[in-house]
Amino acid sequence: MSTFSSTWTHPWMSWQQSVMDESLLAMRRMARLPFLWDRSQRVSKGASPSEIVYEEDRLTLLHYTSERPPRYRTPLVFVFALVNRPYILDLKPGKSVVEHFVKAGFDTYLVDWGVPQAADRHLTLDDYINGYMVNVMDYVRERTGSDQVNVLGYCMGGTMSAMFTALHPRVVRNLMLLAAGIDFGSRDGLLQLWTDPAVFDVDRFVEVYGNAPAWFLQSAFLLLKPVQNLIEKPIGLAERMGDDAYLDDYFAMEGWLNDNIPVPGEVFREFVKYLYQQNRLVKGQMPVGKHIVDLKKITCPVLNLMATRDDLVPCSQSEPFNELVGSHDKTTMELPAGHIGLAVGSKAQRELWPAATQWLGQRSDKAGTARRGLRKGRAKDS
């Protein structure tokens, strides 16, 4: 009898105890609610020390300073997407891609495209790639005395970096793409379905709205994973409200996720029409101004970084890049992470970025070595 009663009463007692403990914990968490708002406002944007070295229209170029001089002569320029702010690459200490490269000894720069206004709605990909990017790279080369630059492009910035490298192959020494969309032919991602011409009239959209509004892009991104974004995330916050480290990470990430910016109308139109709808880049028909982008003209070493659980830019969009370029030195690195996790996730910080900095270091010339590259004649004459 006592065995029978203990079999039935013991689980019941432990359940009762757990429920009481959890209720007390929940009350303690709720007591922190009034302080959450203040905590969320104290999140800083960007972790590594930097200075603004170049400005053009809304664009600013940040240079990350370091106590030690750079180990490598060729500078590295980060090119981010136009849809979000770029400080995701330098979110906080320990979750910063920039930090890895600065510590590895690269002279690091980051392009901040700024926030487009209504007057910018007529800017095209040609303005960004053959205008702003050319000016930025020229400035960096002049400032550092290097003939070439290393380029790392993230997401839409990766697509733009690939086009820039194809149009100006002699400028780029090494090209790294991070979750960059190249081949939009598959239907793996929801965005490819939603931008189908039968569903989305991009011409009318740009005519009515001008720039693609930030709220529109934000809604589309949220809708890619509605349960995760609208239900699981708040539940996770409620359960871990007592964890300070979790709160810091949460507010840093949420602050960035909600910091969307509009995309210039014509760039948005070109991206949706020429890439998502017509997939012209892989067909060698992508127009950028008067030029046609030919990915075969990319002959520098390329590193293609992909996230296998990326819903925004599935692997099927990034994978074909290595087959389309004319480079002989092609490397792929995959990580089981999402689109943002590829940059700031713990696993990426531990495994991916040290490997990426090593890859780049092996293909970079150390500072103080003899000048090589385009200006052999000038070095000889002097």
Binding site: W15, H122, W194, R204, V208, P226, V227, Q228
Partner: protein
């Protein structure tokens, strides 16, 4: 009618999926399993099933159609509102958004034309400087050929063809202009 059956089938599939996941989560539990952990597992299973169903729904033709209709509706609404605002501003001799837009387009076209011309001129200058460089190299070569064995230049560095060669050239009408003759 088929649409309703399809929707019912999808809902049934989602429910079945949820029940299966819940059963799988439940079989992993024992009387010693903390109750909250058990509830969390069930919640995870339920949300997973809903997430999958939501993804399937967002890929369906019905959802795409719905999305198109709502977007078209929003665009029509904004277009009408914008039209009303433009008319109101024009009626009061004011400047509307469309006028500024048209001005920006004109400025943009002007900018594009100027940039195209500058690019053309830059290409021509580059071409000219290449030709000049080539000419300079040829002159340098000719000067170098006109030097003596001890490095001293001739008084007349340009070599004239031999008389017989000149006669042949004259006969062919191909003699080059030579002011020394």
């Amino acid at each position: 009618m088929d649409n309703y059956f399809d929707q019912a089938q999808r809902f049934g599939q989602m429910w079945l999926d949820f029940m299966m996941r819940s059963m799988q989560a439940a079989t992993g539990m024992t009387p010693q399993t903390p109750p909250l952990e058990a509830m969390r597992q069930m919640r995870t299973a339920m949300l997973g099933a809903i997430s999958q169903a939501a993804e399937q729904w967002m890929r369906s033709p019905q959802f795409l159609d719905l999305m198109k209709q709502s977007l078209d509706g929003a665009l029509s609404y904004w277009q009408q509102l914008s039209g009303v605002w433009t008319q109101a501003r024009h009626a009061t001799q004011g400047v509307a958004h469309e006028d500024v837009d048209a001005l920006m387009v004109s400025v943009r076209h002007l900018e594009q034309r100027l940039l195209d011309r500058m690019e053309e001129m830059s290409d021509r200058v580059e071409e000219l400087s290449r030709d000049m460089e080539q000419l300079g190299r040829r002159l340098a070569k000719l000067n170098a050929n006109g030097r003596t064995s001890n490095g001293q230049a001739h008084d007349q560095p340009i070599r004239r063809p031999a008389p017989a060669a000149r006669q042949r050239k004259r006969a062919r009408g191909q003699e080059a202009f030579n002011p020394a003759e």
